[in-house]
Every structure is written in C-alpha cells, then in structure tokens.
Amino acid sequence: MGSNRTGWLMLAPTLLILGVFGIVPFFYVLYLSFHQWNPFAANPNMIFIGANNFRRLVFDGEFLTSLWFTLKFAFFAVVSEIIIGYMLAQMLTRDFYGKGFFRTIHTLPLIVAPIVVGSVWRLMTTPSIGIIPYYLNKWFGYQLNIGSDATAAFIITVIMDIWHWTPLVTLTLLAAIVSLPKDPFEQAQIDGANRWQIFWHITLPMIRPAILATVFIRLMDALRTVDEVWMLTGGGPGAATRFVGLHIWKIVFPKTDYGYGSAISIIVLYLTLVMCWLLYVGLVAPRVRRSKVNADA
C-alpha cells in the first residue's frame, strides 16, 4: 500500500503537467469544435452548433487544398529524409578523415529553433540578397523567386525541412545500424549475397523497426509544420505553401474563428492517427501476427 502511494506521488508532477498542458486543452479544443465562437465578433458568446463546423470543413476548398499540400509536403520530405538519412548513417559507420567534424556540423540544424531555420532560409532565398538565388542564377541562369513561383516555393519548403530534420533520421538510423550484430552480415557474404542483396534482405529488415519509428515521428512532425514555413513563405505565394498547420493558424488568429479552427485541429489529429494506424497495420502488424501464429504452433 505504502509503495503504491509513493508511486503515485512520484508520478504526480508528470500527471499534473500532462493533465494541465495536454489532456485538458485537448478536451477544451474538442469542446470548442462543436461551437461557434468568435470572441471579437459582434456576438462574442459561444454558441453550440453541433457538427456544423465539421460539415463546413468538408466543403471548404481552402482547407482541402491545404490538406493536399500538407500530404505532398510530408510525403516528399519524409521519404527524402529517410533515404538521405540512411545513406549518411551508413557513411558514418565507416571511418574517414574529418568524420567527427562532419558529424558535429551535420547535427547542428537539429538544435536550431524552427523559427530561426525559417528566418535563415528566408534570408538565403530572398531574390536580391540570398545566396541560393544568386548561385542558381550564376551557374544555371535560373531565376529563383519563391515569392512568385509556387512550385519553387513548395520545393524550397521541402528542402528546408530535409535540411532541418535529416540529422535526426541519421542519428536514429545510425544508432540502429551500429547496434546490429555483425555476424549475420558476414554470414550473408558467405551465403553469396552481394552488397545490394545484403542491404535488401538483411540490413533493411533488421533496421525496419527503427525506420518505422522514425517515419512515425517525422510524419507526425511534418503534418503539423507551422513555424518554419510561416517564417519562410508565410504560406504563399497564394496558398501554395499554406500547409494545414498554417491554415489553422490563419483561421484561429487573424480570423479569430476559434470554433472552426478547433474542428480542423481535431480532424487533422484524427487524420494523423489514421495514417499512422494504416502504416502500422500495413507494415508492422502482419509481422507481429505472423510470429505469434508461429509461436502458438
């Protein structure tokens, strides 16, 4: 009994913080999403409107476009980060001159705040003063202007996200790779596998849990990207980079439409959960089930 109480006491601060900053706001947002509430409007009262916010959402072209852009953004960013991160992790398992220096430099973006990343990239991409437009023009004669070219703006946001978050992927995959046992790889060589076959049949399945965990983390992050992009493009040009997080921000803050913004937040959370669940069902669960069946046999 005594130890039980001590246990709860030890957990109390965490539970308190989680409750105050996580659970209570969540239910508050859920509550808001069923209301019409604009505290700065003529009628600042909260009015219960049932599922009307959600109904509005389905026909909201702006929202659907932003969702589509977000999915594209998340897909390109996460896939690139995993591929580049894996290659860098493999490189870091080998010894080369300046490895320590490279690892430090490469990890630096991780400790930079997103808002700063956005500012830096904004500086680097501003047509008259940025280094990127300057060299693109000098070397390829290409005029980069993310203020007017929607595709270029979208690509730059993806590249910025890759720049910022690939180090995280590298670190997690590097940890996974170095903790792998050495013997199966030697066995695979003896079994006659070439490098590609070893990668495909041995390395990839063995670091699969780490890859999946990283994909989950990065996917969730990418779906709620706000600050970097807000700083870089402000969602423009037009709405070309107005990802769903930015869209919510625009509705909640400049437009102060709290009810509708809450509804979008809830839906985005729901979609994120569904996507992770689909990934889990598609990639993780079959294996677990398969081995359970075998264990029972």
Binding site: D183, E186, Q187, I190, D191, G192, N194, I202, S291
Partner: protein
C-alpha cells in the same frame, strides 16, 4: 569437395602481427581441427579462409587456385559461426534457403533441399519458426542446416558447440562427425576444446600465439607431442611436468628431478646432467611396488576413475587410475611409470628429446 592449401599465411593488424607464416595442407574430404588457447589466431585463420579477413601475406589456395583476392561470396564455402549468426527476421526455412534464393535457384528446388536438410537435422517441425523461438541447440542445428543446404566445397566451423551445454555438445559432436562421414566434404573446424579436436579430427593443427605448434593425427599428437605446449594441451587431465635432469652415473639413464624424485626413461641421446622437463600422463601411472614413493594429497573418485593428486618431495604428480582404489589423503603409495610412456623435453627449447 576441395583441398585447401595455406601457404606462409601472415596476418597483421597495423604493426601487430598475429599470425606468423602458417602452413597447412588440407586434403579433399579431410576433417581438420584448428585448436589452441584463445588468442592463438585460429579463428583469424579460419576467417581468412572464409575471406572475411584480408590476408596480409602468403597464399591461400582452394582447389589449386589462389583465392587471396576472391570475395567470400565467390569462394563457395559454408560457415557455421559460434553465435550461429541466424537472420533474426527470417524463419528457419528462409534462413536455410537464403543462399539458394540468392543464387536464383527455383523455389521448388529450394524447398526440396531445405526439407531434406531439415529431416537430416530433425528440424522438420520448426521450419516456420523464427530464431528467437528456438532453443540454443535448435539454433545450432539451423546454422548447420544452412551450411548443408549449400552443398559447398568446404565447411568452416568456428567454435560451433561452445554455447551449448555439456550433454548437447557431446551429442552434436557425434552428429557433426556422422555428417562428415556421409557428405565427405572438407571440414575445417576451430575449437579451443582439445576433447572436441581429439574426437572429431582426421588431422589436428595445434596453434599458439600465431604459430603452428604441431600438425598430426589426434593419437599421434597424444603419443608423440613435439613440445611441452602440445603435450600439455592435448589430453585430459593434463600431462604432469617435472623439471630436472638426466643422470646415468655409469649405469642406465634415469630422470632425477630438481627435488630428487627419480623416474625411469628410455635411452636418450643426451649427456649426463642435461636439464630436461619430464612428462608423464596421469593415465599412464599405475600403483605398484617399486616406482616413485609419493604422499597422497587429494583423492577425487568419479566412479569410473580415481584421480590422485600426490607429492613426491616438492614435485606435484597426478595419477588417473581406472579402478576404485582405497587410498586416502596422507597415505603413502608408489607411482609406477613405464619408460615407454615417459616424454622428455629439453628445458631450454621445450622440444621433445625422446
């Protein structure tokens, strides 16, 4: 089926040389055991045969072809690792069939071969399991099955039994030997356990500190160890060694220890007073009249045998007797040695004299 020639093989890690010009000829179908204490370079040598470790100097030939620069995947050898090195994410069947799949062998053929190997190793019911669902002994079998399926030119075993319990180890020893008799494929087997070496090998290569100490048939090594190290390493319990010199004093030669114990020898080509190490195996000592008077220190009866740890002056001598003998600590008995069973080594070179 292949013969393996190891010619002046040297292994260096930077400045550090760990294998110093090793030469071994392995005939087609031979079962060769590399044995030695840990750190003697036996596993490194095996890994060089496999191609997992680059060769610093010398030549490695498989079937007459130099393979120094040939990748492991192109050497057509199979290896069983001490850790078994099973692919954790593949089932037993997938583990066993992997090498064939890589080669592009048609699926039905892979299945047939896996099934056949599984039945040989009694793995039939485990084919759909994952390595983590198997016991140590079963994993060991899968590792062997994976090697058998290959039908390789050479089998390499790197201490495959050292993670098994004593009983299973004996059983697997017999199985590997049977396997060799049936397949007649060249086997190179690394172990630190001299019993494994003695029971399984056609030929034993005893290594120490990166040098080959002696190569020969098991009983040959047992009967005629070429130096003190081999004499002490082969045989269990280990051979008794006593320091002393050869004396004749005009009559027949005999051994006199530094502490005055006297033991018989065969005629030796050495001068009087030559410093030697006298070796005799515990199992070659009998009790009887005459011989060396000793005081019993400890008696260890094991049922089948009785081991006596005794002292003669300051010299420690063990005897392993076939019978149950009513001796107790503190008793005085006589140890009798047939000079035929005495091994005499030069003290300076530790090489065999007789």
């Amino acid at each position: 089926m292949a013969e393996v020639k190891i010619k002046d093989i040297v292994k260096r890690y930077g400045e550090l040389q760990v294998i110093h010009g090793v030469n071994v000829d392995i005939r087609d179908g031979e079962f060769v055991v590399l044995v030695g204490p840990s750190g003697c370079g036996k596993s490194t040598l095996l890994r060089m045969i496999a191609g997992l470790e680059p060769i610093s100097d010398g030549e490695m030939l498989i079937d007459g072809k130099v393979v120094n620069k040939v990748l492991p995947k192109d050497r057509d050898i199979a290896m069983v690792f001490q850790s078994y090195a099973l692919y954790p994410h593949k089932t037993v069947a997938e583990n066993m069939g992997f090498s064939l799949k890589i080669k592009g062998v048609p699926k039905p053929e892979i299945e047939a071969k896996v099934k056949q190997a599984a039945s040989v190793l009694d793995l039939g019911k485990l084919l759909d399991r994952y390595p983590r669902q198997l016991s140590g002994g079963q994993r060991q079998r899968v590792a062997m099955g994976r090697a058998i399926v290959r039908d390789p030119r050479v089998f390499l075993f790197d201490e495959p039994l050292s993670n098994l319990d004593a009983k299973l180890r004996v059983a697997m020893r017999v199985e590997i030997k049977e396997l060799h008799q049936r397949l007649k494929t060249t086997i190179i087997y690394v172990t630190h356990d001299q019993i494994e070496a003695m029971t399984m090998a056609d030929k034993i290569v005893v290594m120490k500190d990166g040098y080959v100490e002696q190569i020969g048939a098991p009983l040959d090594l047992y009967d005629n160890p070429s130096n003190v190290f081999v004499a002490g390493f082969i045989g269990s319990p280990s051979m008794n060694f006593i320091k002393g010199s050869i004396r004749s004093d005009g009559g027949a030669q005999r051994f006199v220890s530094d502490h005055g114990s006297v033991l018989p020898v065969r005629p030796l080509p050495v001068s009087d007073g030559h410093p030697v190490i006298y070796g005799v195996r515990p199992e070659h000592i009998t009790l009887g009249p005459g011989g060396l008077p000793v005081r019993v220190a400890v008696v260890e009866p094991t049922g089948a045998e009785t081991q006596i740890f005794a002292r003669s002056n300051e010299d420690a001598i063990d005897a392993m007797l076939r019978d149950r003998i009513a001796v107790r600590a503190g008793d005085h008995v006589n140890f009798v040695v047939d000079p035929v069973n005495a091994h005499v080594f030069d003290q300076q070179t530790t090489k065999r004299i007789s």
